[in-house]
């Protein structure tokens, strides 16, 4: 993939927005029959910020994006962009560029005409349109493909053209609806970097919807984790991973193992070791509780008398992920791959908590991991 032109600076050059817009979603409610897709969603996005909506299928993230784009109308609540209420403005007049999950290029138009379409709708003359569309195609590394038709491009190229087309209108907000999900892993990683790089250079406010936590954590300034139409937590990727405030976030973002524990004051006892409980916005928990452990929260030592034994081993390059069965509980543990290579399946180990504190949540079902 051709690198993005280094000469393009924030706020200038092709596709530069007229400065990123601030976005405020105020108490949005949207129901479909008995299903509440958005349940009082409230969120503020700063100008030029990249926010990712992350959540499982049906959590309302796409509905939120479609309401912002103007394709859906909320039952109540407001969409405010740069202080202006757009709730009653239709999609055509919102000035928002959108890249869709499915390839959305117009099949009857060449690549150049696709990129110039938005400019044609804005009554720019032919010469201006061609010049700007060509510049944007150069920007996404497809300057030599302008005369081709969408069916002659690969999936990754089509999404890059769609990105150029969305940027051509100098949108106030760029909306990305799972644009990478139909692509293969290598192209996805390349395009992910390119989108992030362009977004930073153009300083354009961007909302990105995805169910892929790796995408969300690696691209966004802030990640908004959604569940059942409301926001579970919105924070920077690092905070979200290290300090999840709810059990849902701890379970959904990253990998967590649930281990039943007993509260003892402000501490819990895990594997015979006392650990402080992480303060949580969800407040105190009462009744039976589980500790939520990240794979890197636990260390192991080989010990024939140890309480756990290794049941699975997965190689991830620098690290190896082990599943250690401790009684009835499977616990995932990451070790350096050179250490992991010496460990055999069935080998007995002694687990030890190395995190400074742990998150606890009301006891739920202990799931056998499908992904180790």
């Amino acid at each position: 993939m051709t690198d993005v032109q280094a000469s393009t600076t924030a706020g200038s050059g092709p596709g530069a927005s007229s400065g990123g817009a601030s976005v405020r979603l105020e108490n949005l409610v949207r129901t479909y029959g008995k299903v509440r897709a958005l349940d009082g969603l409230t969120l503020s996005i700063e100008p030029g910020e990249f926010v990712a909506f992350l959540g499982p299928s049906g959590c309302g993230k796409t509905t939120a994006l479609r309401v912002l784009a103007g394709f859906e109308h909320p039952d109540s609540g407001r969409v405010v962009v740069d202080g202006k209420d757009l709730s009653n403005v239709n999609a055509q007049k919102r000035d928002m560029g959108m890249v869709f999950q499915s390839y959305s290029l117009f099949p009857n138009m060449s690549v150049l005409d696709n990129v110039a379409f938005g400019l044609r709708m804005r009554h720019q003359n032919g010469g201006q349109r061609r010049t700007k569309a060509s510049e944007l195609l150069e920007l996404v590394g497809l300057g030599d493909q302008s005369t081709k038709y969408p069916h002659q491009l690969s999936g990754g190229q089509q999404q890059r053209v769609a990105l150029a087309r969305a940027l051509a209108i100098e949108p106030r907000v760029l909306l990305l609806d799972e644009p990478l999900s139909a692509l293969d892993a290598k192209v996805r990683a390349e395009l992910r970097d390119q989108i992030r790089s362009l977004q930073q250079r153009l300083a354009i406010t961007t909302v990105f919807v995805t169910h892929d936590q790796e995408e969300a954590l690696s691209m966004a300034d802030r990640v908004c984790v959604m569940s059942s139409g409301h926001i579970e937590q919105i924070a920077s990727p690092a905070t979200l991973y290290a300090r999840p405030t709810t059990a849902f976030v701890a379970q959904f973002v990253g990998i967590s193992s649930r281990v039943p524990v007993q509260m003892d004051g402000k501490e819990v006892v895990i594997f015979g070791q006392r650990c402080p409980v992480r303060t949580s916005e969800s407040g105190d928990v009462s009744g039976p509780i589980d500790a939520l452990l990240r794979p890197e929260d636990v260390a192991i030592e080989v010990d024939p008398q140890g309480s756990g034994f290794i049941t699975h081993k997965s190689f991830f390059g620098a690290t190896t992920r082990l599943v250690v069965q401790i009684g009835e509980i499977p616990v995932r543990v990451d070790v350096r791959s050179d250490v992991g290579a010496d460990l055999a399946l069935g080998e007995h180990v002694r687990p030890r908590i190395i995190a400074r504190d742990v998150l606890v949540a009301p006891r739920g079902q202990v799931e056998i991991p499908s992904e180790v």
């Binding site: 394709f71 055509q92 009857n108």
Partner: protein
Amino acid sequence: MAQVAESYYFENPEVNPQLPQRRRRRRKKFRLWRLVVLVVALAYFLAPLYAGVKFALQNDLGKFSFWAFTSLPSEQGFSGAFFLSMRLAFFTAAVELILMVPTAIFVHIRVPKLRPIMDFVTILPIVVPPIVLIVGVLGSAPLWLKSSPYLLSIFYVVLAMPFVYRSLDAGLSAIDLKTLVEASRSLGGSWIRTLWSVIMPNLRAALLSATALTLALVFGEYTMANLDGWTTMPVWIAQFQQSDAHVTLAASMALLIGTWLLLSLIVAADRSQSRRSRRKAGTP
């Protein structure tokens, strides 16, 4: 295990030398069967045409002659019937598309749940006999409408609806309509611009096929035109048959060839546009 070994032996040409020969024989047998079906089907369709063309190319004495064809334009009532059929055909096609294109698009985008109901409703004109339709309407239509040949077009629109709707439905199902419309709208395209610049060009094949089916239907419809008292081409052919069978058969053949030429022209125009697009894109 024995079954696997057996299958390996019989399916592997390296260990079973009889296999290629047997396959060739089977293929040969299959080809012959296909050829027989093709010949029978062609004979079924072409024999009446051949008989018709042969009869139309004979004079009263049974000799070869173009007389029936050359005299057609000057036959009484022919040109009137021909141009009336033409007017009705194009008017019907236009009304049909103006009504059905937005309807089909609306159903696909806004109420896709209605598609099964639309499928049922649009098949009704096939179930209801044309004679029932026209007798009912002729009894209640206002005089100004009854005195216009375009009353027929209203019926033809209903008659052609099943074919046109299905053609458009298939065309719309073949594209990601919702995403294309939303992409156009987010880029500032109005509904009209979206329809004209994005949807219609991608529905070209469906529109052409809907138009062709409508034209063919109108050029061949007899019952309604006859009951409404208008001399369209089929009515003229039926009436003139009593005067000169050679001429009416020549007219039928001319109509058939004319319709076929029209459809071929439409298809050729479509292909040439696709070729131009491909050439512009720099591919063969």
